[in-house]
């Protein structure tokens, strides 16, 4: 389990440092042309680096880098402390009722110091296995695309929001710094290092959410920081616990320890729950919507929340077969159900996306908590599919919003007709999220199978949670595909930067859906074989899925080449149609344009009550889980 040659030895390190170069450049560069050049080069380099690393190490044993550089240890720890101190410094902007945030940060800093005093050492500070590589690909490719997309978006953003002071250098610096920290999280085997990067992502998200400096943005940024500080504290305590008991703080050896590592696993699991915005911590991610769209896309698809589920998934072998693990899985299940229900009443597209993100992460958490090989297979597939399609959807919604001035789903009526390419892209994203035979559903299917083998309870939660998913996605899809009822304002074309990101993500979504057996064979299965001593999970029903996909493609082809002919008829309006096209009708006060809104059923599915119920259930489950491991 050692390195082979020099370059692959360095590559992970390079990948962590690499995004910092464009980051620092972007902090000083002014002018759109220069910024474009740096962002494009940086994004391409990061993507290429992650692809190169993955190509070299996806097959074969994990790449473990054994070195002992005390100065590096100290530098990382110092950086972590600096981040904490900066967060504390930023707390001068809090309001009275946010007193708990600095308290948490102080507590977290104290724990960090305690850890440092105990002298954390790891023989193999960096280990790269297939899970980290999958994550690295997501961070490198999806994250890079989002940075490119941000180029045009931020220009428009400042044109639309003259009141927001232009701090684009900081913004782009943070985007790339975020990527760097994410690489750090997924490559670190040294828990101390991972914790440090963890804190950096918290800080980056805090600054990005508060970018516009409005009162709302500031409050939401502090909420994000506060909730993530809970996780940071929990993470720190986990490291301290290990050191205190004289145990290893290397991720790979802990994951192999089984139930002996249950206490730190649950603590880091909690940290993962906060970072991935599981109930009761979900509100920080919803609040993060005030930030410009590229930030939401970044937080939801490739960074931040994915770090949370990554941490939980890493400990899946520890959770496997343990009550505490199952309880964490139930937190995920409860979150999935509650947030899926809450999404029904949302007409703001970004909020629908946010709730659906939390729901899908809940599913990943559930998979990790169950921890069986099938469940982990499903969890990893969910991460991949979700990162790509959710990134796509956020960027598409952002593009629509900047052109129509609305992110309301009702205003997307007729998008397919008025802006065909954008409409198709959005449809690809939506069906990738919930329909057979596409991506997410393959994973959900395996989830159901994995869950029911353990205990039907989780599978039942999944059954109930899937139904609202079907509802809110389909009604959104229905709006996009319908013939526009009233004349809609013309929508301008997308810029090259936007198309580069949106188009690539759309292609990636389709590829991931079609090629998921390959993804499974080359990335997911080898990881499982190692983690679970030879367990092989082959994606079942590939043949039938392929058949369904083929039929769908054939149907589309048939439709394109043999379009049905016939008389065009105005829609039925009780015979009172008016106008040449018959699209309006004669009402009591003259001509009326019919408008139909989707059902949001707010009275039946009250968001507040659902989230409250889910949160209470989650809190109870967490307390019981903690009690179960400490007993």
């Amino acid at each position: 389990m050692t390195n082979d040659n020099g370059l692959s030895y360095l590559l992970p390190g390079i990948l962590i440092v690499l995004p910092l170069v464009p980051a620092l450049l972007l902090a000083v560069v002014r002018g759109q042309a220069m910024r474009s050049a740096v962002v494009w080069t940086g994004a391409l380099a990061v993507a290429a680096g992650s692809v190169w690393l993955a190509a070299g190490h996806l097959s074969g044993p994990p790449l473990a880098l054994a070195f002992d550089l005390p100065w590096l240890d100290r530098a990382v720890a110092g950086a972590g402390l600096l981040v904490s101190l900066y967060m504390l410094f930023a707390c001068r902007g809090i309001v009275k009722r946010e007193w708990w945030i600095p308290v948490l940060i102080v507590a977290q800093t104290v724990v960090m110091v305690l850890v440092e005093v105990a002298g954390p050492r790891a023989e193999r500070p960096i280990v790269i296995d297939q899970l980290s590589l999958v994550m690295a690909l997501i961070i490198g490719i999806v994250g890079g695309l989002i940075c490119i997309y941000a180029l045009t978006y931020m220009e428009d953003y400042h044109r639309h929001h003259p009141e927001v002071s232009d701090r684009k250098p900081l913004f782009f610096f943070l985007l790339f710094a975020f990527l760097s920290a994410m690489f750090g999280i997924v490559f670190s085997n040294h828990l101390g290092w991972m914790h440090c990067c963890w804190e950096v992502t918290t800080l980056c998200s805090f600054l990005l959410i508060g970018y516009s400096r409005t009162e709302e943005a500031r409050r939401n940024a502090f909420r994000a920081m506060g909730f993530n500080a809970v996780g940071g504290l929990s993470f720190g305590v986990a490291i301290w616990w290990q050191l205190h008991n004289g145990r290893a703080i290397e991720l790979d050896s802990m994951a192999a320890m089984g139930s002996a590592a249950l206490v730190p696993a649950v603590l880091i699991g909690f940290a993962g729950l906060t970072k991935s915005a599981q109930l009761p911590f979900s509100s920080w991610l919803l609040g993060a919507m005030v930030a410009p769209t590229p930030v939401s896309a970044l937080l939801h698809s490739s960074t931040m929340v994915k770090a949370g589920v990554f941490a939980v998934l890493k400990f899946a072998p520890v959770f496997h077969g343990h009550t505490a693990g199952y309880l964490i899985a139930l937190v995920g299940g409860a979150t999935f159900l509650a947030t899926s229900l809450a999404a029904i009443s949302m007409s703001n597209a970004k909020l629908v996306l946010a709730y659906s993100t939390i729901a899908n992460l809940g599913l990943v958490v559930a998979c990790a908590g169950v921890g069986s090989p099938e469940a982990v297979w499903a969890g990893m597939m969910l991460i991949i599919f979700h990162a790509i399609s959710k990134g796509l959807l956020f960027l598409a919604v952002g593009a629509v919003e900047h052109r129509t001035g609305s992110r309301d789903i009702e205003d997307m009526e007729g998008l397919l007709a008025t802006r065909r390419a954008l409409g198709i892209v959005m449809i690809v994203g939506i069906i990738g999220m919930f329909l057979a035979p596409f991506g997410m559903l393959v994973a959900k299917w395996t989830c159901l199978k994995a869950f029911v083998e353990v205990n039907p309870l989780l599978a039942i939660l999944l059954a109930y949670g899937s139904a609202p998913t079907l509802f809110f996605w389909t009604k959104w899809l229905g709006k996009v595909i319908s013939v526009p009822g009233a004349a809609r304002p013309a929508v301008g074309p997308l810029s090259a930067n936007e198309w580069a990101a949106v188009g690539t993500l759309a292609v990636l979504t389709v590829c991931a859906c079609v090629l998921f057996p390959l993804v499974s064979d080359y990335a997911v299965a080898p990881y499982l074989a190692r983690q679970y001593a030879g367990a092989m999970v082959a994606p079942a029903g590939v043949g039938i899925m392929a058949l369904m996909l083929g039929l769908l493609v054939l149907a589309i082809m048939a439709f394109i080449f043999y379009p049905p002919r016939g008389q065009v008829s105005a829609r039925y309006l009780a015979g009172a149609n008016m106008g040449a096209a018959g699209n309006t009708f004669r009402g009591p006060l003259g001509e009326v344009t019919p408008a139909s809104r989707n059902y949001y059923l707010m009275g039946f599915f009250p968001e507040g009550k659902i989230i409250l119920g889910g949160s209470l259930a989650s809190i109870a489950l967490m307390i019981v889980a903690l009690a179960a491991v400490l007993r």
Binding site: G478, M548, P563, S569, L573, N598
Partner: protein
């Protein structure tokens, strides 16, 4: 091989059986209303007539969605009768349903949009119970594969009585029978005009009708699966009784609201279905 035979048999025979069931359904309904009713072949005449009419659509995309509805209703049934994965059957059925709903959304007509929304509510209402039924089959037999479930020596209804009853409940929604025929009803005109199918016409409507026949046969096959081990005659008799009860319910109930539909279907799925699964799980231990 037997799987392929089953799948092909379904594709070929289901429209015949489904059309006959629809015809018998109409006769039985008429008799319950002291009428004579149409000939048993009437549904076939209807579809043939629709096929010979000209298309009149608001958008040609409707044709595509209706075609995909039919296609995936067939796929769902072919998976089921081919002995394939039960979960995949349910997913494929949901896919078919989504296409039908999209077909109703596409024209952006007030009536068909409300039909589409209500159809989605119905789908949301029955989906948990269908999945729970599939999970129950797995827990009782150890397999999600229909052929393995079918070959199981003891009748599923014995292990899963709650799930079976819950399934019958959602069957009413799925077959669009009163009191749950919110989105489109077989009966005379109503407040939503024809709801979901308002804007479908001619050959496009024929595709939808045939899709419903396929769906009906598939759903009754699911009922049969729960009784299969009792022998073909008993099981078949059971299916007939179940369908007759559905027609009876259709004729004696007034329509309920969507609130009651969703709430009752989810409650039934929880009380009868989920409880049954948990009981099976804990009694096994």
């Amino acid at each position: 091989m037997t799987g392929l035979v089953g799948a092909v048999a379904f594709v070929v025979l289901a429209p015949v059986v489904g059309g006959l069931i629809a015809g018998l359904d109409r006769i039985l309904s008429a008799r319950l209303q002291a009428r004579v009713g149409p000939p048993v072949l009437q549904p076939f005449w209807d579809v043939l007539k629709l096929l010979s009419k000209r298309r009149a659509l608001v958008t040609v995309f409707q044709e595509y969605y209706a075609g995909c509805f039919l296609l995936f209703a067939i796929v769902a049934g072919a998976i089921f009768f081919g002995g394939g994965d039960l979960l995949l059957t349910v997913f494929s059925l949901a896919l078919a349903g989504v296409f039908l709903v999209l077909g109703a959304y596409a024209p952006n007509s007030p009536y068909s949009t409300i039909g589409a929304e209500r159809e989605l509510l119905q789908m949301m209402a029955y989906e948990p119970m269908l999945l729970i039924a599939a999970l129950g089959c797995f827990m009782a037999t150890g397999s999600f594969h229909v052929d393995a479930i079918y070959a199981h020596p003891t009748a599923l209804v014995g292990r899963l009585p709650g799930v079976f009853l819950g399934l019958l409940f959602v069957l009413t929604i799925k077959l669009r029978k009163s009191p749950f025929d919110l989105s489109a009803s077989h009966h005379a005109h109503q407040e939503l005009v024809r709801g979901l199918t308002t804007e479908f016409s001619g050959p496009t409507l024929a595709l939808v009708e045939v899709g419903h026949w396929y769906e009906t046969v598939l759903l009754l096959g699911l009922v049969y699966l729960f009784l299969a081990a009792l022998g073909p005659w008993v099981a078949l008799a059971g299916v007939v009784v179940v369908y007759a009860l559905e027609v009876l319910a259709d004729n004696i109930f007034a329509r309920l609201t969507w609130r009651v539909t969703v709430a009752s279907a989810w409650t039934v799925a929880a009380i009868l279905g989920a409880t049954n699964l948990l009981a099976v799980h804990y009694l096994k231990q």
